[in-house]
C-alpha cells in the first residue's frame, strides 16, 4: 500500500506512528471527566458532606457541571485551545439533555458517574482512532506525514527543503522513550507563534470622576509548532528516529563549501561556453591556417592553467592576435582560477585529496587525448 506512493528508486527507511501515550494531553481530558464524576458520586453519597447535597436533586448536577466548566476554562486558557471548554460544555449539555429526555432526575446520583465513565470511554476511543490515523513514512528522499480521521491530511517534505529541525521530549516521552520531531521547511512551514495577551481595567471613583483606565499588551514568540499530522509526533524510539532524520538530512543538504564550488563551476562553464562561441566566430572570420596556429597555441596555455602557472602564461599569449572580447574572457578565467585556488586552501583535506585525484584523472585523460 505504502510502496505505491513511493517515487521511482525511492526506498523506505522507516514506517512510524505515534506512541500510545503521546496524546496524553487529549487523554487527560477524559481522565479528568472520569475522576471528577467518581469524586462527585463519593462527595454527594458517601462523604461526610453528603448531607449538604440531599436538599435538592439538582445540587449534584450543578456542582459537577460548574467544576467541569471551570476546569474547561482554565485548561483552555493554559493550552490556548478553546475547544476544550466547548468540549466540556458539550458533555454538560449532553448530560442535561439526557436527564430531561429520559426523565432521570431522580437518578442523578448514579447517572453522573456512569455518564462520566461512558463519555470518557468514547473520548479515549476517539483519541485512539485519531492516533492510529497518523502514519509517518521516512524514505531516503523525503518524509511523508499523514493523519486525520475524517479529513485526510498529508504533507511531504524533501530533505533539501528542510531548514531546521526541532525536537522535543516531555517527561512521559523521556520515561517511555518517545518524542516529537518538527521539520521546519525553508518556507517556514512548521513554525508558529505563542501569543500572550495582558489587559487590565481600572475604574476610579464612579460618582466623582468616572475615570476608566485600560492597559493592555501582547507578546508573540516564534516557536516550532505544527499539527500532529504535519510533524513526527510522539515517535518511538525517539533517539534513533532523530538520528536517522539528521543523517538523511546531512546527506541531502549541501554544505557552504559545496555551494561555493557549484557557483564557481557554473561560472567556469559560462566562460568556457563564451570561449567556444568566440572561437567559432573567429574560425568563421579568419583564414583556416591562422586559426590552426591559434588553436595550437591555445593548447599549451590550457596545460599551463592546470599547472597553475599564471605568470608564464602571460609571456606566451600573443594578445595582439586575439580580439578584445577574448582577452576579457581570459582575464575572467584567471580571476576564477585565483578564486578556486583560495577556495582550495579552505577546503577540508579529504576533499582536496579527492579533487587532486579527479584532476590527475582528467589530466591523464587529456594527455591521452592529445
Amino acid at each position: 500500500m505504502v510502496k505505491k506512493e513511493l517515487l521511482k528508486n525511492e526506498q523506505i527507511e522507516r514506517l512510524l506512528s505515534p506512541h500510545p501515550l503521546s496524546f496524553m494531553k487529549l487523554q487527560a481530558l477524559s481522565i479528568f471527566v472520569i475522576v471528577w464524576g467518581i469524586m462527585v458520586w463519593w462527595l454527594t453519597n458517601s462523604s461526610e458532606y453528603a448531607n449538604m447535597f440531599s436538599g435538592n436533586i439538582w445540587y449534584r448536577l450543578i456542582l459537577w457541571g460548574l467544576v467541569l466548566l471551570f476546569v474547561g476554562v482554565i485548561a483552555s486558557l493554559v493550552a490556548i485551545q478553546w475547544i476544550i471548554f466547548f468540549l466540556y460544555l458539550g458533555v454538560f449539555a449532553g448530560a442535561l439533555g439526557l436527564i430531561f429526555w429520559q426523565h432521570w432526575e431522580k437518578d442523578i446520583a448514579l447517572f453522573i458517574p456512569l455518564y462520566s465513565i461512558t463519555v470518557s470511554l468514547v473520548g479515549f476511543l476517539i483519541v485512539e482512532l485519531y492516533r492510529r490515523s497518523h502514519k509517518y513514512i521516512i524514505t531516503d528522499l523525503r518524509i511523508i506525514f499523514k493523519g486525520g480521521i475524517f479529513t485526510k491530511r498529508e504533507r511531504t517534505i524533501r530533505y533539501d527543503k528542510i531548514a531546521d529541525i526541532d525536537a522535543k521530549q516531555g517527561i512521559l516521552g523521556q520515561i517511555f522513550g518517545f518524542g516529537t520531531i518538527i521539520p521546519v521547511s525553508e518556507s517556514g512551514f512548521g513554525l508558529g507563534s505563542d501569543k500572550t495577551m495582558a489587559a487590565g481595567g481600572v475604574e476610579v471613583g464612579i460618582k466623582k470622576a468616572r475615570l476608566f483606565g485600560f492597559a493592555g499588551g501582547g507578546k508573540e514568540v516564534q516557536t516550532p509548532i505544527a499539527r500532529s499530522y504535519y510533524e513526527l509526533h510522539g515517535v518511538y524510539p525517539y533517539k534513533d528516529v532523530k538520528q536517522l532524520v539528521e543523517n538523511l538530512l546531512q546527506t541531502h543538504v549541501p554544505t557552504q563549501y559545496q555551494k561555493e564550488q557549484i557557483e564557481v563551476e557554473k561560472q567556469q562553464v559560462d566562460i568556457q561556453t563564451q570561449m567556444r562561441d568566440l572561437l567559432h566566430k573567429q574560425m568563421s572570420e579568419t583564414p583556416r591556417r591562422k586559426v590552426g596556429k591559434q588553436t595550437i597555441e591555445e593548447e599549451p596555455e590550457e596545460e599551463e592553467r592546470e599547472e597553475e602557472n599564471t605568470s608564464m602564461k602571460k609571456t606566451f599569449i600573443p594578445e595582439d592576435i586575439y580580439q578584445p572580447a577574448q582577452v576579457d574572457i581570459q582575464q575572467q578565467m584567471k580571476e576564477l582560477l585565483k578564486k578556486q585556488k583560495t577556495a582550495r586552501v579552505l577546503q577540508p583535506e579529504e576533499n582536496i585529496e579527492e579533487e587532486i585525484e579527479e584532476e590527475d584523472d582528467s589530466e591523464h585523460e587529456r594527455k591521452k587525448g592529445t
Binding site: W42, I171, Q174, I175, G177
Partner: protein
C-alpha cells in the same frame, strides 16, 4: 518548672536517647531502600520505562531538596532542570563556608526526610489522631527513649490501622495511597541503571555522608552544642519539646519505611507478571480492581464491621491465586507436569503414531 536531677543520665543520656532513636530508624530506612534498589535492578531489564519513572521521581525529590537548600541559604535559584537522567540546580550566588555546607546537607539528607515530611503532613489530615508526645518526668536515658518509641509506636499503629482499613472507594484515600507509592518509589536518592557504575548502593550513600560530616568536624561540634542548648532550653520551657522534635524525624523515617514496604508487593506483582504469558499479563491487574469492586458491592448487601479490610484481603488473595494459576499455566502447560505431545511433535518435526516399532 520541672526539677531536673543533676546527674550524667539526665544531662547526657536523656539528650542522646532520641538522637540514637532517629539514627536507628534512619539506618532501618536505608536498609529498606537498599532492598528496594535490589528488587528494581532485577526488574530493570524488562521494565526499563518503570525504572526510568522511579529514577525520575528520585531525581525530582533530590533536585527539589537541593533547590530548597539554596533557598534556605539565600543563594537564589538561577536555573532548575529535572530530566529522567539528571537534575540540575544552579544558584544565583555561590556561597561558601557554613552556607555551602548547609546546602550540601540538604542535598545529602534532604531526600530521606523532606519528601516523607510532606507525606507526613498529608497523613495528619487523613489519619488524624496518631501524633502523641510523652511528657518526661525523671529525665533519664530510658525515659527519653521510651518517650520516643511510644510516640513512634502510636503513630505506626494508627498508620497501619489506616492502611488495613483503607477505603479504595474513597478518592482521598486512593489519592493518599498513590502519594505514598510515589514516595516509596522515589525515596532512594541514587540511580538504578544498567551500567555497573550507576548502581549506587547504600555504602556509597553512607560514604558520601561520612565524607561530608568528616570534612568539617567543627560544624558537627557546633551542631552538637546547638542541640545541647536546645535540650537545656526545653528543660526550662517545655520538656516535651526536645523528644517531640526528634519524634517528628522518627515519624518521617517511619512514613518512608511504610511507603517502601508498600512498594514491595507492587514490585513482586510486576516481577510475577513477567512469568505469565505476554497477552495475559494484564489479568492480575484487572483482578486487582474487579475483585475489590465485587467484594465491596457484596458487602453493601451483607454489611459487616470490617467491610474494607475483608475487601482488601479478598483483593490480595484473588491476585495471588490468579497470578499463581497463570504462572503455573505457563510453566507446566495446563497444570500437567509433563509437556504436551503436540508440542513434542513440533519440537522434533516427526509425527508419532500408536504403532509400536518393530525393531
Amino acid at each position: 518548672m520541672t526539677t531536673v536531677p543533676l546527674n550524667i543520665d539526665s544531662l547526657v543520656g536523656a539528650v542522646l536517647a532520641p538522637i540514637l532513636g532517629v539514627v536507628f530508624f534512619w539506618f532501618l530506612q536505608l536498609i529498606f531502600i537498599e532492598i528496594q534498589k535490589r528488587m528494581l535492578s532485577k526488574l530493570h531489564h524488562h521494565h526499563e520505562a518503570f525504572c526510568r519513572f522511579t529514577n525520575y521521581i528520585g531525581i525530582l525529590f533530590q533536585t527539589i531538596c537541593q533547590a530548597l537548600g539554596y533557598t534556605v541559604t539565600r543563594s537564589g535559584i538561577a536555573s532548575f532542570q529535572v530530566t529522567v537522567n539528571y537534575g540540575e540546580v544552579q544558584p544565583k550566588k555561590e556561597k561558601t563556608g557554613v552556607l555551602e555546607w548547609i546546602t550540601r546537607s540538604f542535598l545529602l539528607f534532604g531526600p530521606f526526610f523532606i519528601p516523607s515530611g510532606l507525606v507526613l503532613l498529608a497523613s495528619y489530615f487523613v489519619i488524624g489522631k496518631g501524633f502523641v508526645f510523652l511528657i518526661p518526668v525523671h529525665f533519664t536515658f530510658v525515659e527519653s527513649l521510651t518517650g520516643f518509641v511510644v510516640s513512634l509506636s502510636t503513630f505506626a499503629n494508627k498508620f497501619v490501622s489506616f492502611l488495613v482499613t483503607i477505603d479504595l472507594f474513597n478518592p482521598i484515600h486512593v489519592g493518599f495511597l498513590f502519594v505514598l507509592l510515589f514516595l516509596g518509589f522515589g525515596i532512594r536518592p541514587s540511580y538504578i541503571g544498567e551500567k555497573r557504575k550507576e548502581k549506587i548502593d547504600i555504602l556509597h550513600d553512607l560514604m558520601l555522608i561520612k565524607d561530608h560530616l568528616v570534612e568539617k568536624p567543627l560544624y558537627i561540634l557546633a551542631i552538637a552544642c546547638i542541640i545541647y542548648m536546645f535540650y537545656l532550653l526545653s528543660l526550662f520551657l517545655n520538656p516535651m519539646v526536645y523528644v517531640g522534635f526528634f519524634s517528628i524525624f522518627g515519624w518521617m523515617s517511619l512514613t518512608a519505611i511504610i511507603a517502601l514496604l508498600i512498594t514491595y508487593p507492587v514490585l513482586i506483582l510486576i516481577k510475577a507478571t513477567d512469568e505469565i504469558r505476554t497477552h495475559w499479563k494484564i489479568i492480575p491487574f484487572i483482578t486487582l480492581v474487579v475483585s475489590y469492586v465485587i467484594a465491596r458491592v457484596f458487602f453493601i448487601y451483607y454489611s459487616t464491621k470490617q467491610d474494607e479490610s475483608i475487601s482488601l484481603l479478598v483483593m490480595i488473595l484473588s491476585i495471588t491465586f490468579i497470578t499463581i494459576l497463570l504462572i503455573k499455566y505457563k510453566k507446566t502447560n495446563r497444570f500437567k507436569t509433563a509437556p504436551k505431545m503436540k508440542h513434542m511433535r513440533i519440537a522434533d518435526g516427526k509425527k508419532r503414531t500408536s504403532k509400536k516399532r518393530t525393531d
